[in-house]
Symmetry: C2
Subunit: 454 residues, 2 copies
Amino acid sequence: MKNLFYFLLFSLLIQNSVTAQSETPLWIKTIYDNALTSRQAYNQLELLCDKAPGRLIGTPNSFIAVDLMKKYLEDLGADTVFLQKFSSPAWICHSASASLILNGKEIKLHVDALGPSASTPKSGIQAEIVEVMSLNELRQMKKESIEGKIVFFNRPMNPTTINTFQAYSEAVDQRSSGPALAKELGAIGSITRSVNMNLDDFPHTGSVRFSDGKIPTIAISTNDAEKVSQALKANPKLKIKIKVDAEDIVTNTYNLIADLKGSEKPDEYMVVGGHIDAWHNTQGAHDDGVGCLQSTEVLRLFKETGMKNKRSIRVILFMDEELYQSGGKAYAAYSKENNIKNYFALESDAGGFTPLGFMIDTTNLNNPKLQEFQKLLEPYGIHFIIHGGGGVDIGPLKTQGVTLSSYRSDWHRYFELHHCANDSFDKINFREMQLGSAAMTSLIYLIDQFDLAE
Amino acid sequence: MKNLFYFLLFSLLIQNSVTAQSETPLWIKTIYDNALTSRQAYNQLELLCDKAPGRLIGTPNSFIAVDLMKKYLEDLGADTVFLQKFSSPAWICHSASASLILNGKEIKLHVDALGPSASTPKSGIQAEIVEVMSLNELRQMKKESIEGKIVFFNRPMNPTTINTFQAYSEAVDQRSSGPALAKELGAIGSITRSVNMNLDDFPHTGSVRFSDGKIPTIAISTNDAEKVSQALKANPKLKIKIKVDAEDIVTNTYNLIADLKGSEKPDEYMVVGGHIDAWHNTQGAHDDGVGCLQSTEVLRLFKETGMKNKRSIRVILFMDEELYQSGGKAYAAYSKENNIKNYFALESDAGGFTPLGFMIDTTNLNNPKLQEFQKLLEPYGIHFIIHGGGGVDIGPLKTQGVTLSSYRSDWHRYFELHHCANDSFDKINFREMQLGSAAMTSLIYLIDQFDLAE
């Protein structure tokens, strides 16, 4: 009896030790071998980019994208594929343009509307420009020097910040919060320098938050931001003309969900996802077509390699990460209503370049399992599993006690492509994308197999 | 007196401890801040790629390249800039083409000559194809099945090998040694599948070693390698026609050397370099224009930031890494003759993508200083300093007791560009290149400052 007790205890210990299971590294190699030789997801990403660019919530292309990916997931052999319907406000951008008025001539600029910009009258709006380098600088100005004018936020991303996501977060208040402040202080429009470290001609759009009414608000390419700033030095009374044609709607839309049933705990979910929507001006290859296809790869790789998932794998392609983040909120609400046990959630929404590592929203990074996981993935170039947030789409699950994680790939080129026409399929490298798919699958496998509890 | 002794001892200890010197991290930050905001080297790389593509030893463009870079180094304010002259065989490629003969028609293939291929008669050579997957497979064949034919080495790079340099070294014998074996066994020509993980239309050239006479020998794009292989399955008697027009010459040429004088040990050199030559079919942006400019950045960054170098910084732009590796040998011979003390040598010849780390040819990687260096560079994305060779150009210095090191950047895209027309300036990312320049400068600074001895 005593011997049996020790035997059972020993078996339990073995089972809970990651490296004691000699098949673990072999499964990881199997995942990578398959991912690096299968072009299925890469080809599907090309199709998505080609057939449904600019797939912002409520647009015809957003529905085409969902259809394309639903069929793809069904063909992969998911056990269940379904649409989680919800209703949300949306914003459709028809056109945006701007010109400097210089010596009576109009000089066209590379601009795009931020979402959800107000429309201008058909003839546009025209006013003097107030250039500032920060929201604080604007707050300290006299109201009368802002009223009736167009505010131009022109602080560049800091190129000396090594982590470009940090540099982005340090600059992006000019886009997300600047226009509302400009409106509050009496401006009739706003321009934000593209949040892009490079000097080029691409206007980078993005979301802007308004609370009490809105004004026409655009992004300008970094090259043109420099040009306007120079022109203002020569002529501080310089005027700009802005035209935006857009509309606010309310739409029914969907998160696309596909499950691969778990063998032991089918009612617990390992969630993995990206967002299916993309801004109106882009194919959205890196943001976030690649995250969608890396997520579907997790399902495909479990299925094709014959690895057993204890819990159900749930792939979610979230709608509307970009504009109102309504898809993430809708899935969290749906989970709450239906008492769904999401055990772990992993988001890929930071580009599909060479893998770097994972951020994980846990209080204990000294968890020896996480350290063992990192060691197992180090030979594949996973350099870190560090503390950090999960991402916009899975974020709302946090209050339900779900452990969240986000995948990080090499970030140096990402903001040169982000939210602009430059984010096209030809910027996706098959190998880099698939190293990410394999890394994500490996993490899901390890956490499903060995759990997170110490 | 005793107190003074302890004070001096303490000072000495402080001086030799890396992290105890609080200015060390500040200097590293200064290096990165400057590198990430100066476009001088990037612009010069564009000029080099634009004005002197195909700058293989002995070609007119190789001399243009040396002139361009000599002027650049003089303008940077190097203390000495000089040409180290030597004589070497060289090989000039005028043209190369090949066609499948299918049903009496010629189907043109994407090919290029390997260097130094023999020329064919003007009308070309034409013969049946013997496809093999390895040199061993060829060795085991009967001589009469090879004689008078053209051998086709068609083993792909292994896409599941994570380190692409390893995958390259596992495949490249088909290019470097295969043609000589084919000749020995009576073949009249050889074709090698491009050593490229991607499926595309670029033929990738490279060096081939012949010892006793040579045959016409070409590389074929991976797409066309697949096509020829398929066609052979349908028709094993398929013929291919190859034309190569090239000539062997002997040329005078140069390594370009620039020094920044050291403040304490000016007669000891911290060597940093890349190779200035590039294959006839390419701008040689990643291989190795970027390595040249990252090396000149080391000199520029020392000079512009005002960091003191104890030893002299010596930038060497080596001629002829590609064909006969004559530049590296010539500098080693020159060093020996002139009793030059090269303390440390760092080579950048593995692409200019996001930095990964350094390989260092030392017997003791547990050297606590190297570990401290790595920790100081970790926040900048230097993930390793591991044991490994220095590179082809500095390799010959090994027998003179020089510690050698090579810089490694993200390697996943590198062999898609390597030795082919795809290796053009537009594939260089400013930020990624300059992160490498800063990492190299930091390593040179740390080793010069704190030495390598434990």
